[in-house]
Structures are given as C-alpha cells and as structure tokens.
Symmetry: D2
Subunit: 201 residues, 4 copies
Amino acid sequence: MTTASLDQRDQGLSQERLDATEVLIWWGHKGHAQVDEATVDRVQLRANDGMGLILLHSSHVSKIMKRVLGTRCSLRHRDIGERERVWNVEPNHPITQGIGDYFEIEREELYGERFDIPAPDELIFVSWFEGGEVFRSGVTYRRGNGKVFYFQPGHETYPIYYQPEIVRVLVNAVRWAAPLRIIPGVAGIKAEPLEPARRGG
Amino acid sequence: MTTASLDQRDQGLSQERLDATEVLIWWGHKGHAQVDEATVDRVQLRANDGMGLILLHSSHVSKIMKRVLGTRCSLRHRDIGERERVWNVEPNHPITQGIGDYFEIEREELYGERFDIPAPDELIFVSWFEGGEVFRSGVTYRRGNGKVFYFQPGHETYPIYYQPEIVRVLVNAVRWAAPLRIIPGVAGIKAEPLEPARRGG
Amino acid sequence: MTTASLDQRDQGLSQERLDATEVLIWWGHKGHAQVDEATVDRVQLRANDGMGLILLHSSHVSKIMKRVLGTRCSLRHRDIGERERVWNVEPNHPITQGIGDYFEIEREELYGERFDIPAPDELIFVSWFEGGEVFRSGVTYRRGNGKVFYFQPGHETYPIYYQPEIVRVLVNAVRWAAPLRIIPGVAGIKAEPLEPARRGG
Amino acid sequence: MTTASLDQRDQGLSQERLDATEVLIWWGHKGHAQVDEATVDRVQLRANDGMGLILLHSSHVSKIMKRVLGTRCSLRHRDIGERERVWNVEPNHPITQGIGDYFEIEREELYGERFDIPAPDELIFVSWFEGGEVFRSGVTYRRGNGKVFYFQPGHETYPIYYQPEIVRVLVNAVRWAAPLRIIPGVAGIKAEPLEPARRGG
C-alpha cells in the first residue's frame, strides 16, 4: 500500500504507478480543481480496465467521480457535527460483512439528498442524519471492467477513519473492488463474420 | 425541429440554442473528434438539467456519450451489409409502442457485444445479426434530471432512417425523453437543519 | 373508480372485475391472511398482463406483494406516532411531479430498514424517521407487462390519506401505472425458425 | 454434493436437507407440476435466507422460478437442434471467469425473446440462435439474502452438460452463489426508537 499526492510527479498518478495499482482509494478536500484532465484521463482508463476505484467523502466534487458517473454529483451539506446513523440495506454483500443492522458516527458533516448520481448498480448503505436528512451513503457501480464504490463518511475534522466499522467497510471494499483480471481496453474490434453472411455488400 | 452542425457558430450548440432545446438527437460519422470539450460540457450540463439526449448509431465514439456513460463504449464492428433483427424485450415501454415482437433491417453495419457500456437502467432492444453476433441495440439511462436513449441502427450507406419501424422508435423516443420539467443544476445546497441537532460543533 | 372488499363475491376481485381494471390500489390491515390463493393468482396474472398495481403501507405483509416480489418483505416497525420526512430522490419521475425536495408527515407508524425487498427498478422516495431509522418508502418494479409501485405512508390511525402531498403522489402513481396496452400472457410460443437453420435434428 | 428427486421423501427437499444446503441446482423436465406448494415454500424461504439457487434450462416453467421472480417466465421455443452462440457481456463477473468473448453450443433447443422475466440485477450472457432469435441466457438476481442465477443451456437430448465451458460456468456460479452467511428470515422486527421521539402517541 502506498500514497499518491498532488505535489508528486504526474500528480502522483503516473501511468507506471497506475499500471501497478489494483485498487485506488480517492480522498480530497480543497485540491479537487487542481487535478489535471490528463490525470483524470489516466485514472479513468485504468479504472475502466479493471482497477478498483473507491471514492471517499467529498469525492463527489472530484473530476474523476463526475467523469465515471456522468452527472453533477451535487448534494445538500452542512457541518455542525451532527450524528449520523449508517443503515445496512444489503447484509449479504461482501462490503457489509461484519457490519450489523446499522452503526453510528457521533459527529459528521451532513451530506443529504437529493444526491445527483445515476441510480447505483447496488445500494449498500442509507444514512440517517440528526438534522433531518437521509443520504445514499454507500453505492456501487461497474464501469468498463472495473468496480467503483462511493462511501460518504470521512470529514477531515472528525476521527472517522479511526472508527472500527469504517475500517471494516474499507477493508471489505478493497477486497471487493480488486480486479478478477485486468482487461486492457480497446477502441473497437473489427471482426470477421462467425456465420455465413449472405448479403455482403 | 431544427438542425445543428459543426460548421455553425459554437458548433451549432450555443448555450442559447441548448437552453431552447427539449430533446437533442445526436448523429455523427467522421467528425466526432472535432467536437470541442466546451461543446461537450454545454451539452452534458443541459442534458443533466433535463434535456432529452438521443444518441444514434456511431455515437458510441462520440465524446458526449462517453462523458455521460463513463466508459469506453467500445464494440465489435464490420460493414458487409448483413441482416439485423431487432428484438423487443420491453413491449410495455413507451419507446416500443407500435413495434411488434421484432423487426428486421435488411442491410446494416454490425455492432456486436461486448458493448462496453454501464448496465443500462432499461434494456429495450437486443439485436440478432446474420454474421453471428448479438447487440444491446436500445438502452436507456437517467443522468441528473435528464433521460438518455442509445439506439444502434443508422449506418450512413443504408436507407435505415426511412424504415417505418425506425421512424416510429425515434418518434416514441423523443416523446419519452422530453423533460417533465427542467431543473437547473447547482453545485450544492448549503442547508440549515430541519430538526434540532443537539451536537453542533 | 370503485372499491373491492373481502366480503364481496370472489373477495371483490372476480376475473370479470379484474379484466375491467386498469390500476388496482391495495390497502389492508388485519385481513391479509384471509385473501385466498386463487384471488392472489387472479390479481398477479392480471398485473403481469399490464394492470397497474399500487401497494400501500402494510401491503408488505400481503400475499400479493410477496408473490410479485419473491421475498419476505419484512421490516422494522413501531407505532408511537413519530414524525416522518419523505425525501424525493427522483425529481424527474412522473410519480414525483408537484412534490418538492421533501414533505413531512406529522405522525406515522415507523417502517424501517432493512426492508427485505429486491433491489427496486427505481428508488423514488427515502424516508427519515424521528426515532432514528430510514426507509425506502417509494419503489417501483416492472413485472411482466405491468408496473408496480409500493408506497409506505398510510397507517390507519392517522389522517395520512387526507394530506395533499400524499394525494398528489397517488394521483401521479395511478397515471404512471396505467397500462399503455394490456398484453394477455401466454404459457410460451412455439415458433418456426426465421432463418435457415442448417442443423435441424 | 448430493442429489434430490421427486420420488424421495418430502420430494427430496425436506427442511433438514435444505438447512444443510448452501447452493441448490434445479433442473426439471416433465415433473415441474408435480412439485408441491409446500416444497416450493421450503425452497423459497431457504433461498431467501441465503442459500444459492441456480435455475437451469426449463426451470422457467418451474414453480420455484416463478415464485422468486413474480412473472410468467414465458418465452419462444422450438427444438430443431440448431446452433447457439453464448456471448459474454460481463467479462469482469465471477461467473464468466475462464470464458472468452463467446462460446458455441452445436445443437440446442431454442429459447428466444421476449423472455418474460423482471429486469435482472445483472445480465451476464446473451445468446444468438441460428434460427434468428436472441435470448438473455444468463441472468442474476438477489432475493432476500440469497443469490439466484438462471442459465438457459441444458436440453436433455444433447450432451450440453459435458461441454467444458458449461461446466466452467456452473462451477463459477456455485462459488458465486454460495452464501457469505445465512440470515434466518423473520416476519418483522418490533423496534424501540434509537433517538428521542418527541411526539409519541
């Protein structure tokens, strides 16, 4: 496991590093706009080829999340340190193993509906917030040959990534997102017919 | 109904024209790479706001289709003028009204699986090709507040758009894709709590 | 519009009445177990043929809902008259026209996750409950040629069906669920080949 | 691995046997109507609790498949021993590992669209038939805590289950469908509030 950051060469995400990466976890705060389009291109294509892509918290403003989902990814938000209760709606999914019916986060930034994302392939978690909102806080997608998981918890001013349930979800998600195999993408395949095609031009 | 082309100002798709458009039908052949990123941005955001987007035939290589779907959209292809039979798998969908169990296209370019698209929200048509392939030839997606329909028939060397079943599908699709209302997108909503939130930081 | 009840002939749902019905709204309280299997059969097949089926509130214990969904439809519940806030996650859907970002129900029975239903074709509403739960309170499915909408609000001790937002959702849902056409189901179709099949036994 | 048949006690599927079963493979030919409702009830509830359920070939006429899917499962059919080509549309799925872009079955009974099933959670295989039809020949569903896979090949007069690709798909499917854990179903959970609910009746 290693870390990439914006101040590294190729923003830490050179083609060589990506080609050696099976699962990429994305977390950002103020730097989303500084990510180059070329970096986004490289990450997207590697993710399409099979690299797992785990998008955390404010990734909804990242270029890469908008790129793979095709929508604005906008949402309601406020930061008053309210309570969140994360409900497990897919107890039979690899990502929720070891997680009970729900778990609580004592203080978290609110992200609320409507969350402007495509209907997910799988809805894993739905969260309750003290201030009156709900949120689809764990959702999966397949894009190309790769898997994508968005997971909302993780505001930088609270100790969220030290909470055991959160760690468990992340470990589960990395295993789930790891590629069965990488399938390098192609622009298209010019193919001969497999059956006698009688009407050739 | 009006037409936009690459040689017009703003590539025919100025913000003003898009703002007056309820459904945009996209067809291209050799010019896909000439479409500017700025044009793609405008079309995507208007589609996210609610404009219907109908993507025809080789739109799978267009920037806008890749932008809203987030994958390579690659496929098998050849052009020998073979027969296609389009099977209707959702006879209760608005797009298939007036269409029977199937219809035939006497000569068409092959597009075959695997078609590298996200799992569609709705699978409408699946095609059989004389040379031995199959293809998900009609698929729908919601992106933001807008609807997207990809429809494969339409190679430029055959009289496909004169065929009554094709015309019927397109008319149906325009009606289906027309917005119930346009909802201008926002970057996010900073919201006050709706309930007493006792743990404010 | 007419009403059917258990004490009528054929439990109010004879084949003749069903054949004349375009959309059936189901509400029950204590009588779910009294519905005959034969009645469930008739309703299911008519719904599969295209009749809209709107399942309200405690329909999750009805035989017909379990029949069309194939799961136990179990959930968390309590009745202390707590507040519910219904969030609109598909503002571009016919069922949510005229509904804002959310609406509130002052007193309602809790239904909470995990709601043991198949992943819906469309997730329309997600509810927040004062006692700490969330619920997928509006979901759609297609079954056969018919549309199904489950909508959770409606406990019998509160004036929920007098609330304007609820009425609006129901009117919208009836229009959405009305069949484009009824397609009488068949057991199967024995078909001649459409192409020369060279390997016939 | 063991086998159950209709002439055994409890039709081979007693509660004790089912409770010891992690994945059940269903194949039938003429006996579908002889399966008792009580047997179907036991199988469905065990599958809802987490047992994998693999439905082969003419299972589309079985009571258990209609029970978990909620539709007629009707289709086009004929048996002239024509060629089928099974296309792999999800190369990144556990069920398709070791399978290439497609594989062929030299002689098979035709099953063709429209296949009256709910939109699958995942579309894995789409088949081409020599006589001109297509078919969604591999589809997955989640029902309760269990996974369901329908796989079309397997007519009794051809040596289909001896073909290496078929064996590979079945082995993959058994591994995929095996439960992460069994979660015994409940009718419902009467729950205390998790937050102070101020409006209790």
